[in-house]
């Protein structure tokens, strides 16, 4: 029996490794998560860098000393604007330039509305952040002054401000970075499905489609052994995908300034082993479900369609967890997919829950795998499955 399972296992892997296209997809999928991770963190790090002081070149600084003092007090770096500033703004090398007109001082002293010009190019997205900040500072100055003038005339400034809008920006770099980090367990779980997908399609549905299932079943081999060999081959592809994904994460994490973003995440050796212990048992169940579903399909393509839909399954709890991490409860670890995503998340955050959740998650996956394999084996006795070809 062991020999037979080994024979089927080796044949399936050899066959699969010769299918370069399927193998390429199997390799690309697990790398998707780390790539998203790398891109997102670099983006966020660049947003973070935008919290540098506001650089604002000014034309006619001397004409508005109190405005300049105000701007500098609130962190703006003022400089003399170059003569060709309009050209530069259009070209994008300058974000915005403040122009203080000659009659500013005169209007200001007379108590008229004095105008300043903020020269910008609104079609440039990159500059938007700088423009908004400059705009906000200038408005604040105007309001402060207006208030002072009203007070001086014995009017309570609040009268002139019936409604005040205060914006609360919840998207701090920490929060967005944490939500990307929370995607890691989801992508690891996805890898357990993505890795074995094409092998599972080929080994059951493909076998039916080619008409090679009937001759295969003519060998004096228990159907359970055939299913077991094919399943083990699928499982090893899934495990390979998880390993690949994890290694890619660990390489990426070194290039990402996690601490700068104020994040607490562990990606060292023990953490990696913990994540493997959390996620790998799921490969047993994921591959078994894929085999079972694939047996119903009459063709490789049909199986691929079903199995792609099946991948939505881990995405649902994964997305929920990534967007709003919840307090884990013991029963949750016994739910395949959900349990693994929770566990991997806890390991990544450096929390140790003890061995029980790990055992619970592994056991539930093993049971699910066993049930699916039994169903698959039983399907192989059905005449409709053996002979039913499209």
């Amino acid at each position: 029996m062991r020999h037979l399972i080994g024979t089927v296992f080796r044949k399936e892997l050899r066959d699969h490794f010769r299918d370069t296209r399927a193998l390429g997809t199997a390799v690309l999928w697990p790398l998707l998560g780390p790539t998203v991770f790398l891109v997102m963190f670099n983006l966020m790090a660049s947003w973070y860098r935008q919290d540098r002081p506001l650089e604002l070149p000014v034309v006619g600084r001397a004409r508005a000393p109190s405005l300049m003092a105000f701007l500098e007090r609130y962190g703006a770096h003022l400089s003399e604007a170059p003569a060709d500033y309009e050209e530069r703004i259009r070209a994008g090398s300058l974000d915005a330039v403040l122009v203080v007109p000659e009659d500013y001082a005169q209007d200001f002293s007379a108590g008229h509305t004095a105008s300043v010009h903020l020269v910008v190019d609104s079609s440039r997205n990159q500059a938007r952040h700088t423009i908004e900040r400059a705009h906000r500072l200038l408005q604040a100055y105007g309001q402060q002054l207006g208030g002072q003038r009203l007070s001086a005339r014995g009017v309570v400034p609040e009268l002139a401000v019936p409604v005040q809008v205060e914006e609360l920006d919840l998207s701090t770099p920490e929060r967005s970075a944490a939500s990307v980090l929370n995607m890691v367990p989801l992508f690891l779980v996805l890898a357990t499905f993505a890795g074995g997908m094409s092998l599972a399609s080929d080994t059951m549905a493909g076998e039916r489609e080619r008409g090679s299932l009937e001759p295969l079943l003519l060998n004096p081999v228990p159907r359970g052994a055939l299913v077991a060999g094919k399943w083990l081959a699928t499982v090893s592809m899934a495990c390979g995908a998880v390993l690949l994904s994890l290694v890619a994460y660990m390489l990426v994490v070194r290039r990402v300034p996690l601490e700068d973003l104020g994040l607490k995440a562990r990606f060292d050796g023990p953490a990696a082993l913990g994540m493997l212990a959390a996620v790998l048992p799921l490969a047993l169940a994921a591959s078994a479900v894929q085999m079972w579903v694939s047996t119903y399909a009459r063709s490789y393509k049909e199986a691929q369609t079903y199995l792609s839909l099946l991948m939505v399954l881990p995405m649902l709890p994964g997305m929920v967890l990534a967007l709003s991490p919840m307090q884990s409860q013991t029963w949750m670890f016994a739910v395949p997919v959900l349990g693994q995503e929770l566990l991997a998340g806890e390991v990544m955050r450096g929390e140790w829950l003890g061995p029980v959740p790990f055992l619970l998650a592994a056991l539930s996956s093993a049971v699910a795998a066993f049930v699916c394999l039994r169903f698959t084996t039983r399907l192989l006795s059905r005449e409709r499955i053996i002979f039913g070809r499209s």
């Binding site: 299932l213 001759p215 060998n219 004096p220």
Partner: protein, 244 residues
Amino acid sequence: MIEAIHLHKRFGTVTAVEDVSFSAADGVITGLLGPNGAGKTTTMRMLYTLVRPDGGTARVDGVDVVRDPEAARRALGVLPDARGLYPRLTAREHARYYGELHGLRGAALDARVAELVELLDMKDIADRRAEGFSQGERVKVALARALVHGPRNVLLDEPTNGLDVMSTRAVRALLRRLKAQGCCVVFSSHVMQEVAALCDRIVVVARGRVVADGTADALRAHTGKDSLEEAFVSIIGSEQGLME
């Protein structure tokens, strides 16, 4: 030695095989002849254990196919209706895979596969991947894997279907060779000429029943017709399916 004993099979309300009994002796080529839809393929599938009869049974070298299908499969070499190959495996790897599934290993397996490559004249395709094989080459590979364990009983479902003259001749030569080795060979066909050219014994199946059983001469004598073709028409009661 293959014996079919009152085989009966229904699919829903359709009766595919009503009552088929015959026995095929060792060292003899037995042809299962009948028009399309007569129940030949279903009968074959019951003999090679992939369809479970609703009534009756069959024995392969005395092993009951219903009670011990695995042992029956061990004693059988089968070329089924479906001859799918793995496009990314070579011809030799196909034979090796099935040999290993039959428990062959090491030098014995190597020797047996080499023997089959020789026997089926597949030297030029032995180490090529099956992708792009011609119909004749595919049948050779399917035969090689069916015979890799050296079975004493060989079942072939329409073995020459879709083959050109050269491949057909090669298959016929192989069947004669198996017969000379003392194997029990049963093959099904709806082509009268095919059966007439090869078979020592002909079992005619129509509408799920055996309607005649004997040598070509006996069938002619029984019906009083001079040609085998006339004899078949008379036995089956129609000309359906006998012309090709």
